[in-house]
């Protein structure tokens, strides 16, 4: 996602580095401060669930569709979850229309792992007729504006859209015939993973890197943390390296920030979750 090089002409590496020495950032934030996070949930009526998440100027829209399909042969009793990312050409001058790039695939797979490994959706409850019919949950991410930190924004939009998603209730007759009821129900959500990307710029560790800062990061770790502070997924990206100590530091930062974000977001959306339990 390194399309920040043009901006670097204006805001030099040096400026960014000088700021960091003083433990501040060019936009005035502290090293471990996120930009403002805003969430809009359930904004699409046609999707089973949806969420628009902004972190600073970065905007990602997640739409969930739940459809009927077949299970994987090796998991006949489990529903299917797929995550797909579209780096839409609206979002950045460097995103081009066409089949998904390596960056889009990595982003989709890292978001997918956070949800899947944390067992955020209880896939076993999405089986309708074992081996034959299951619910397929499509999470489609549309990156609308890229101003840095796509991993965290996308992961947050995904889990919120999943929490927002509703499916029709149904009964299955003995003959295996499916009959939908009028009532709907939420997806069986059982965890709330939050992905936090910790970046290393020189000696400093920072979170929520902006597009300007992206040009000077050495390396970053994206860490998915579940509701009990468990680690569910990690992805190191960019070509720098971390020491073992730095990994430990990053882990601590991620755990703290994930908790903070989860609480803040849940507070903001109390309303729409009310009817849930």
């Amino acid at each position: 996602m390194s399309d920040s090089y043009k901006i670097v002409a204006k805001i030099t590496k040096k400026q960014i580095a000088d700021n960091l020495l003083k433990n501040t950032r060019i936009d005035g934030r502290g090293l471990l401060d996120y930009r403002e996070i805003t969430t809009e949930i359930g904004l699409l009526e046609k999707a089973s669930g949806s969420a628009l998440v902004s972190i600073g100027k970065t905007k990602v829209l997640a739409g969930v569709k739940v459809e009927m399909g077949e299970p994987y042969p090796d998991k006949p009793d489990a529903g299917v979850l797929t995550v797909n990312v579209e780096l839409t050409p609206l979002a950045s001058p460097s995103f081009e229309p066409g089949p998904p790039s390596e960056d889009a695939i990595e982003l989709a797979r890292v978001v997918d792992r956070g949800i899947r490994e944390s067992k955020a959706v209880d896939l076993n409850k999405l089986c309708i007729v074992p081996g034959k019919k299951v619910f397929v949950v499509f999470v489609d991410l549309n990156v609308l504006n890229h101003s840095g930190n796509l991993f965290d924004t996308s992961a947050l939009a995904s889990i919120l859209a999943l929490m927002n998603a509703k499916t029709r209730e149904y009964t299955v007759s003995k003959g295996g015939q499916l009959k939908y009821k009028k009532s709907t129900t939420h997806l069986p959500i059982q965890n709330f993973p939050v992905e936090v990307t910790v970046a290393k710029i020189g000696e400093k560790m920072v979170v929520d890197v902006s597009l300007e800062e992206e040009a000077v990061i050495d390396a970053q770790l994206t860490i998915a943390v579940g509701k009990d502070n468990e680690i569910c997924a990690i992805q190191k990206s960019l070509i720098g390296t971390f020491s073992q100590d730095e990994v430990h530091q990053a882990l601590q930062i991620a755990t703290d920030k994930a908790k903070e974000i989860r609480e803040k977001v849940l507070r903001g959306v109390e309303g729409w979750l009310e009817g849930k339990e």
Binding site: K46, L61, P93
Partner: protein, 257 residues
């Protein structure tokens, strides 16, 4: 698309399924500049349609051999998000999306002063976030605003609206159900100052008289849409100083004509 049997009433006592009268537009809300990275952008809600348009350019053309020596190379992409439709849509562009990309380009290009930017590229990207009938018209309407927001010199805005036939009557601005179960759909776009029609399509079955009535009605709709476009632009730029874009626009126009 083949149409269903006529027994289902789409109009009862002059009222359509969504409560409109036969000559009513749906509610339209236009937002200028919602996206930061794009050179220009617009968001439109048109009934239940939710659509973003973004413009990049004038900028370098890739691949370079596409650049034109005498004018800007103008491209459009109409794309539906996978979650925008009733059944999930596969992300790869369908034949329908590719045709609508072309039709959109042809609807917008006559208004753009492409000769001011030889060798450059101007790209319009339209992303349908939710579709409910009439997305091509709504997309063109939004793209036109995004072009203004990007400061691209234009002869005129482009305003689009459809008319159609349901339950035997010519009505304005079909929604999805009306499009699927109705008899005909006539999407139209105009450059309002000259009245030039830059988009005109039709499918379904209409007599010559019905077609003329539908075209007349669609043109009326376009004019209403034009007013909403101007309103949105005024609202967006009213606190700012007179936008440089406008000056460029008139200048460009002179050079082009």
């Amino acid at each position: 698309m083949p149409k269903k049997a006529k027994s289902e009433k789409l109009i009862r006592r002059g009222v359509r399924t969504d409560g409109r009268k036969i000559h009513d537009l749906r509610n339209i809300k236009i937002e200028v500049g919602p996206l930061e990275r794009a050179d220009g952008s617009a968001y439109i809600e048109w009934g239940n349609n939710k659509i973003l348009a973004a413009v990049y350019g004038p900028r370098e053309v890739h691949p370079r051999h596409l650049a034109r020596p005498d004018r800007a190379f103008f491209r459009c992409r109409y794309h539906m998000a996978p979650f925008s439709t009733t059944e999930r849509k596969r992300p790869a562009p369908s034949r329908r999306e590719r045709e609508l990309s072309k039709v959109t380009r042809v609807a917008l290009e006559p208004s753009i002063l492409t000769k001011l930017y030889p060798r450059a590229g101007i790209d319009v990207f339209i992303e349908i976030l939710q579709s409910d009938g009439g997305t091509r018209c709504a997309g063109i309407t939004a793209a036109s605003i995004a072009l203004v927001d990007a400061g691209i010199p234009m002869k005129d805005l482009v305003a689009a609206c459809a008319a159609g036939k349901i339950d035997g009557k010519i009505v304005l601005d079909l929604n999805e159900v009306e499009d699927q179960e109705g008899d005909a759909d006539v999407p139209v776009a105009i450059m309002p100052r000259t009245g030039g029609i830059s988009l005109l399509q039709m499918d379904g079955i209409l007599s010559q008289t019905e077609f003329k009535e539908a075209l007349e009605l669609a043109l009326e709709g376009c004019k209403q849409v034009y007013e909403l476009q101007k309103e949105a632009l005024t609202k967006a730029y009213v606190q700012e100083e007179a936008p440089v874009k406008d000056e460029e626009k008139s200048e460009g126009e002179e050079q082009n004509e």
